[in-house]
Amino acid sequence: MFEQLDALLLARIQFAFTVSFHFIFPAFSIGLASYLAVLEGLWLKTGKAIYLDLFKYWLKIFAIAFAMGVVSGIVMSYQFGTNWSVFSDIAGPVIGPLMAYEVLTAFFLEAGFLGVMLFGMNKVGKKLHFAATLMVAVGTFISAFWILSVNSWMQTPVGYEIGANGQYLPGESWWDIVFNPSFPYRLVHTVIAAYLTTAFVVGGVGAWHLLKDRTNLHARKMFSMAMWMAAIVAPIQIFAGDMHGLNTLEHQPQKVMAMEGHFESHPDGAPLILFGIPNSEEKRVDYAIEIPKASSLILKHDLDAPLAGLDTIPDDEEPPVGIVFWSFRIMVGIGFAMLGIGAWSLFARFRKRLYEWPMLHRAALVMAPSGFVAVIAGWITTEVGRQPYVIYNLLRTADAASPLDAPAVAASLLAFVVVYFAVFGAGVWYILHLMHKPPHAGEHGVKRGDTGPIRTAGITPGPSQNPDDPDTLPRDHEEATDGR
């Protein structure tokens, strides 16, 4: 199957596969760590057990998602060297230090406090435990900060000098490198995306349990919190995405041309192509449905502003238009669907039907995984859109790869595909299994050591409960039935 593929293409497929798989987990754990910190903080502030129950419910899910993020992340930190050694050598002096800072300021923080967060509640007391949760949440954000700075520098490289040995060397100001032109926009857009992704997962799980039992107070609480997040943050995200797009137009115009499907230049107002089929060979968009001059309005805030097209770019510097065009529309489409759910939830709240509107709950359930699709589509847009360069306008992807034979990369790619689908497939199944259980009072956290004979028999139905009053449930309810 791999005979026709060269080592370069295989290495690109391998990177795309492993990084896409990896990013699913941080997209979730960045948001979930913050949600857990909020829940624990609310519990400490109000003393209400429902927040502690929700904290423990989501903590079990977080533990699995975080473990998958860690092991798939270590793969990424080595893959720069294994498969992109020319890039590593040339760009190492500039981006290596940023990644070292990620390890020093984020990875150790997360990993060091994770053990206390998962297992230490009864060992360190509430306040120190909350501090540990906060450290993990802050760590996920710091990690995003540094790695997005690295990615952004590769998109909009500034502040470097070229050394005698061909390496890119840091210039006088690290500030310029870290806060390169696209970084602030990418950071805001990506972190908000992680929050939205998590909000829709939490909302979807709440909706699922409301559909089964709309009186479940825990499900109501998580659904309500998630819908506030959707209603407030989705419009902010659309605004942030627009700003990010304008920044891209300024620094990486051909990426925007591909996103818009503008093969031709439009000297007096470019149309907004809503849909169509990009035809790269004929350099046109077939069956286009377009709004005249709307693209100029969005990108230049002027109906008649001229917009250059891909006809101004040499053919060997154009990104693949089809992939960028479609992935961009998927991301934007999901963004507006999220906005719609947020608005619907506000309307439902106003009508006092937030917990009694099965159509809304079904819609939220369908949207539960939408954040993952949107973030992957967004990354495909920005990463494919900067091709053929790995460091924009400086180093071509084709010149960055390691001197490896195609069979070596083919074998490793095959191994990654098999292992990732098996291992992370199992992990996702375990997460879905946890989400399937209704949240309830007396939720227990991550516990180890089911050494007794009771909890080795698998899942057994719980005792009958009064869902209107979770506090009537025995505290050790799930201990007897959890089955671990």
Partner: protein, 335 residues
Amino acid sequence: MDVNVDLTTIWAFIIAFAVFAYVVMDGFDLGIGILFPTFEVGPERDRAMNSIAPVWDGNETWLVLGGGGLFAAFPLAYAVILPATYPLIIAMLLGLVFRGVAFEYRWRDPGHRRYWDAAFTGGSLVAAMAQGMTLGALLQGIEVVDRSYAGSWFDWLTPYTLLTGLGTVAGYALLGATWLVWKLDGESQHHARKLGKRAAWATLVLMGGVSLYNVFLNAEYAERWLTAPEIYFAAPVPILTAVIAVMLLRALSVDRHSKPFWLSLALFFFGMAGLGVTMWPYVVPPGLTIWDAAAPERSQIFMLVGVAITMPLIIAYTAWAYWVFRGKVADEGYH
């Protein structure tokens, strides 16, 4: 040996420290994975797992610092070593995937627990073997032409690298067993001590084998171990190693707490010091010295500031996390 203390030297020691921290800290995690099949299914396995569950993630982070630090401080070495040992690195990464998720999955899925236990062992074994073989591949030398790896993709597979791989597996097993002597009690502790003794002998024999092989591997290595004046710097290392070895074997017979673990750590320290003597000043023998591969001064200074600020904090909160989970692992685990 001419040792100028410049930024590059400081960075070589920082990377060496990160690698040492990784080897001993994740070493006992991986060692427990390697020894896992010898533990009884049930409480004994659960307690062995619980003794590292809160700390393994932090321990593994040192591997990212070792790799990321190498990328940042010696980008050329990172860009040469990883393609040269490509199959080993991929095997290690996949082994660590299985090992890492097993910590969570085995509790989530009692029906398939034995499969995740097998994944825990298999992943640990593959990762340990691959790490040891990577070290061997580095010591036996990597061909570099024009800032790039110039060998073929199985150059790393030799009898020597198999020996270093097995030595690493045995050494990790020793760390894991002595950690369990410290953290367990009763019958399980007795079992761990028995394993510790076997692993100690295996480690010492393989360490000796690798050391002898080193002398014959490369004329330059032989020179610095066997001729004056280098021998005066080098000789204390094997002598102290032998003293530690005797103390370790004695401690494994009498001590019920942490002493065998600390002595195993010391054994690894002197093993590492021996490696330092062998390799210095090369980061990729036989051609690239640390100065050939070093990042420019601006990169070194920028990161040194970060290390100076964060490393004391990292060590402090890591120590705190260990302190929180101190003592023998109780039967019921963490609640």
